[in-house]
């Protein structure tokens, strides 16, 4: 059932061939539906050209996407959300990934899926933004990931 007030409903990284590289759902979606859902969304994003706006509507979700190199960063939000702020958040996430991986690329995310998830979890919890100051995130991450 839809929970009101959630900022993000899902966060996906999908490449141009439709392969999901990272998926985080903040409300429950059955496993069987996920791959079809993700593929469909990526198709819609691919169908759009450069100049068009980054917002879509699909099945009741508002979809905000941006392409960085070969990956589509796709966020699904509810209708009341500020789309421009979400774009900023996506950019912040990308910058954080960059800082942690040294010129991050799709392969980095693939092979370090858990690390990418940790970074995301430091920034978003239960669909809400937790921390957006990169310095704080990086601090926490170095400590988090270093401890063995």
């Amino acid at each position: 059932e839809r929970r009101a007030g959630i900022m993000l409903r899902f966060f996906l990284l999908v490449n141009k061939q439709g392969q999901t590289r990272l998926s985080q759902y903040y409300e429950h979606m059955p496993l069987a539906d996920r791959s079809a859902f993700e593929a469909q969304i990526v198709r819609k994003c691919l169908a759009r050209s450069e100049g068009q706006c980054s917002f879509l509507e699909y099945l009741g979700y508002k979809i905000i996407y941006r392409r960085y190199a070969s990956l589509f960063f796709i966020v699904g939000v509810d209708a009341s959300e500020n789309e421009l702020a979400i774009l900023e958040f996506v950019h912040a996430y990308v910058e954080t990934l960059d800082a942690n991986f040294e010129n991050v690329c799709e392969l980095d995310i693939m092979f370090n899926l858990d690390k990418a998830h940790f970074i995301l979890d430091e920034m978003v919890m239960n669909g809400h933004l937790v921390e957006t100051a990169k310095i704080n995130i990086n601090e926490a991450l170095t400590l988090l990931l270093a401890e063995k």
Partner: protein, 873 residues
């Protein structure tokens, strides 16, 4: 053998086909399962990591769930880490396995290591169940007050989840929240504000009051952000912590809504944000967007609102599509509040309709619907029609429905109305809502000046149309009804040429018309309702066209006598029989009386539930010929000729016309279509009261019969023609087989008992109207009134007619009067039966507004009067 995650990924990527990939995964899953069974502790976290990857690809990974739990309870940090991650990804809150985690969660929440606490909080926040939330609530509360900002911020968000699952704990948490706002750490502020936003959504006073008191602190924080200099840690492209700003703006929006005191406190800061924020980058625009939304929601000063709309206007002109989208979106939300300001930007919005980007087009479309009014309807509808031509299928149903609604509401002229709906039907007939063809037909029939124009246009459209949708339906009906106008000589000046519209003048031969209609009947692609209409149309044409064609039509109709479809068969048989009664046929098939369009509320989708009410100034012209109506119907039903005015006494069934009675009794019998009102009242009456019933069925001159529900109209084969049976012409409503509206009566008619409740309702210029009311036993809200008109003048009155209007809680049906001429000097009288139903019997009395028309010695006289029935009726 346990391979590393890296290698697994390489293998999967190396697979060329889906089957190969599946094989790789299955092999790996088997290996993992073995490893789990063997309790391989060292490799456990690696295995779970692989499971995460496999899960992301979409394969089932249930066997890994218990392993996550084992990892969580392990003392090592790396194990816990991957365990919680696995927990969050592989499970969801519906799984019962989660209950097992509660205990370890509680322990971890008390762990000295802040990161482990963080992990636990994150897991709780993401997938906590109600049980877990309740158990861990005390810990979360304690952690909210922790000195460590890292923990505090996570605790705040975990609290959101806890409170959503267990709302009763709300009161415990509210005091803690205030403390969150004093924190300097932006992370804590952000989550604190988010928590407040969440709680405000619950919108109870217990929450709102203390929060509203916090508005000044919020304003202060925002001010610091806006005015502060460069703060490197939170800076995004020159703006300090935009996320926090946006969040605070949103919270202010929710707190200020409906509360003027709080809104006052926000005015200054909002103005500051609106002016100071740079709008060259996306960041600044994001903040402005949120600020604009806030301004429009709270009780802002008008100056501030104007500023907000101007910002939106600036957005609209921005080249970046995102910004324009956002502007259109917001404008459609605020357009109700301030239409004028938005109208100024109408041209830009219309341009957006042509934008290549489909999202922008959709937003612009929504906005345009709200902007339509009388002055701009023509231009906007033209744009909308153009858009309809090129739009995708997903837009069409809504667009068509809205176009029809808008046209009906604001049409500047009937001709334009007809034209527009015609165009819509020819472009996108499949998506037209059901009431629209009915409304169009009613509109056309009620505007005599449009008959010729409409039928010609429809004929032309039909020749080019092949969709067999509503357009065919309407066209065929009009051709049948006004076929004579279609083939008439139009070399004279064509009427209806107003405002420079071009007039239509086509020459069409009778044969062509018959050909076209026959084609529609025969076409296998036509739906059954369309063919029904076409058959009826053909029948009507037999009287309007020359007799040679009548023969041809007769032959065509007879071919359907044994058609498999019952509707067509019935019509065919009846119409063929009708050919035998030449004298009657002409009258039966003549022009239909003006149809009443269904009420507006039906058009908007909400069933009217009440019958259509006509005020005294009804468009239906006065029923001057209602007595012959009675006669004709008497003829039809074999009731015998009724030359004298008083109808109820002249009912004499003739035995020879028993078959007619049965035939038409069948017509009025339970129709094949699911009409809720049973017309059995018409058929099973003893003959003596039959005439009275029929008169009642026909209803009064100015008021249509009760229409039980809009769906009946839609379901019937006639496609919802609500026969407003005010007889405008000397001819009856045609005995169309599926006119169940004729039979809408449910109350049994009885004449009023003599001598009860008679009073004078009107007495002016020698004309007196006496109302005699009687209640029906057992149904006190139904009153039957006999109105008696007498004339004390020295001259007789002719063309006497009475129309009545009633307030909403009453329903009225008027029978035709016994005559139109009131003899002079009280020599005779005219009576009329009126039936009134009071839905608020007992609380509201019966009130009538009468409109009385007659022609006296000095010419026509018209008067209005109000009549209040005595209390108790």
């Amino acid at each position: 053998m346990s391979i590393r995650l890296r290698d697994l990924i390489k293998n999967v990527r190396g697979s060329k086909t889906a089957a190969e990939e599946r094989a790789v995964i299955q092999k790996e899953c088997a290996a993992i399962r073995t490893s789990f069974k063997e309790e391989d502790a060292e490799n456990r976290h690696r295995n779970v990591a692989k499971l995460l990857y496999i899960h992301m690809l979409g394969y089932p990974t249930h066997f890994g769930q218990m392993e996550c739990l084992k990892l969580i309870v392990a003392p090592g940090y790396t194990d816990k880490r991957i365990g919680y991650l696995g927990l969050m990804l592989l499970l969801d809150e519906n799984q019962e396995v989660l209950m097992l985690v509660t205990n370890s969660l509680k322990n971890d929440l008390n762990h000295p290591n802040q990161f482990i606490v963080g992990l636990a909080l994150t897991a709780l926040g993401n997938i906590g169940t109600t049980g877990m939330a309740r158990d861990t609530a005390p810990e979360v509360e304690k952690l909210l007050a922790s000195t460590n900002p890292y923990i505090r911020k996570k605790a705040a968000l975990a609290a959101i989840r806890v409170l959503r699952k267990v709302p009763e704990l709300l009161d415990n948490f509210v005091p803690r929240i205030k403390a969150l706002l004093t924190e300097r750490n932006h992370g804590v502020l952000l989550t604190g504000v988010t928590l407040m936003v969440e709680l405000t959504q619950a919108a109870t006073d217990a929450v709102l009051d203390p929060f509203r008191k916090l508005v000044p602190s919020l304003v202060r924080i925002l001010k610091n952000l806006v005015l502060s200099g460069y703060a490197p840690e939170h800076d995004v492209s020159g703006v300090t912590d935009p996320f926090l700003q946006v969040k605070i703006l949103r919270l202010l929006r929710m707190l200020g809504k409906g509360d003027s005191e709080a809104s006052d406190q926000m005015n200054d800061i909002l103005a500051q944000v609106a002016t100071n924020t740079e709008s060259t980058k996306n960041v600044g625009n994001a903040i402005l967007y949120e600020a604009v939304q806030t301004i429009m929601t709270i009780e802002a000063e008008p100056g501030l609102r104007v500023m907000a709309i101007n910002i939106l206007g600036r957005f609209l002109l921005n080249r970046d599509n995102n910004i324009r989208y956002v502007a259109l979106n917001t404008l459609s939300k605020v357009v109700n509040a301030d239409v004028q300001a938005v109208q100024r930007h109408r041209n830009t919005i219309v341009d957006c309709l042509k934008d290549p980007d489909v999202s922008i087009r959709r937003r612009a479309l929504d906005l345009i619907y709200s902007l339509v009014n009388e002055s701009n309807i023509r231009i906007l509808v033209r744009e909308l029609l153009n858009f309809l031509l090129i739009s995708d299928v997903q837009f069409r149903p809504e667009l068509v429905a809205k176009l029809c609604i808008v046209t009906e509401k604001y049409a500047p002229s009937k001709r334009w109305h007809v034209d527009t709906i015609l165009r819509v039907m020819s472009i996108a007939g499949a998506f037209i809502p059901d009431e629209v063809p009915a409304n169009l037909v009613a509109l056309i029939s009620s505007s005599p000046e449009l008959h010729s124009y409409a039928v010609q246009k429809l004929y032309l459209a039909l020749t080019q149309d092949s969709s067999h949708g509503p357009l065919t339906q309407v066209a065929v009906w009009c051709i049948g009804e006004f076929g004579d106008l279609l083939v008439a000589d139009k070399t004279g000046a064509s009427e209806g040429a107003k405002e420079g519209d071009e007039s239509i003048s086509i020459t069409v031969s009778e044969g062509d018309v018959v050909d076209l209609v026959e084609q529609v009947v025969r076409d296998p692609l036509s739906t059954v309702p369309v063919r029904q209409y076409a058959l009826t149309s053909l029948m009507k044409l037999t009287t309007r066209f020359s007799p040679s064609l009548a023969q041809r039509i007769k032959a065509t109709i007879e071919t359907y006598r044994s058609n498999l479809n019952v509707e067509l068969q019935q019509r065919s048989v009846e119409y063929s029989n009708l050919f035998r009664w030449e004298a009657v046929r002409t009258q039966v098939l003549d022009r239909m009386p003006v149809l009443e369009p269904p009420s507006r509320s039906e058009v908007d989708g909400a069933p009217a539930g009440e019958p259509v009410r006509t005020p005294a100034a009804a468009p239906v012209p006065v029923h001057t010929q209602s007595a012959p109506v009675a006669d004709l119907l008497g003829d039809l039903l074999g009731m015998g000729p009724t030359p004298t005015p008083t109808v109820p006494t002249n009912v004499q069934p003739k035995s020879s016309s028993a078959t007619t009675l049965d035939l038409l009794g069948d017509l009025f019998g339970p129709s094949p279509t699911p009409a809720p009102a049973q017309p059995s009242a018409a058929t099973n009456r003893p003959p003596a009261s039959m005439g009275l019933d029929i008169m009642d069925l026909l209803g009064g001159p100015a008021v249509p019969t009760t229409i039980p529900s809009p769906s009946m109209g839609i379901n019937s084969g006639m496609g919802g023609m609500n026969l407003g049976l005010g007889a405008t012409s000397p001819h009856t409503a045609s005995p169309h087989a599926t006119s169940p509206q004729m039979s809408a009566q449910t109350s049994t008619p009885t004449s009023p008992q003599p001598g009860s409740n008679a009073f004078t309702g009107y007495n002016k210029q020698g004309v007196t109207i006496v109302f005699e009311a009687a209640k029906q036993p057992g149904a006190p809200q139904n009153t039957v009134v006999q109105a008696t008109y007498t004339n004390a003048n020295g001259f007789p009155l002719s063309n006497f007619s009475l129309q009545a209007a009633v307030p909403k809680h009453l329903k009225i049906q008027m029978a035709p009067p016994s005559g139109n001429a009131v003899p002079a000097s009280n020599a005779g009288k005219v009576t009329q039966l009126i039936r009134i139903q009071n839905s608020e019997h007992g609380s509201k009395p019966i009130i009538l507004r009468l409109k009385i028309d007659y022609v006296g010695q000095n010419g026509p006289v018209s008067d209005m009067a109000d009549v209040n029935f005595p209390a108790g009726l």
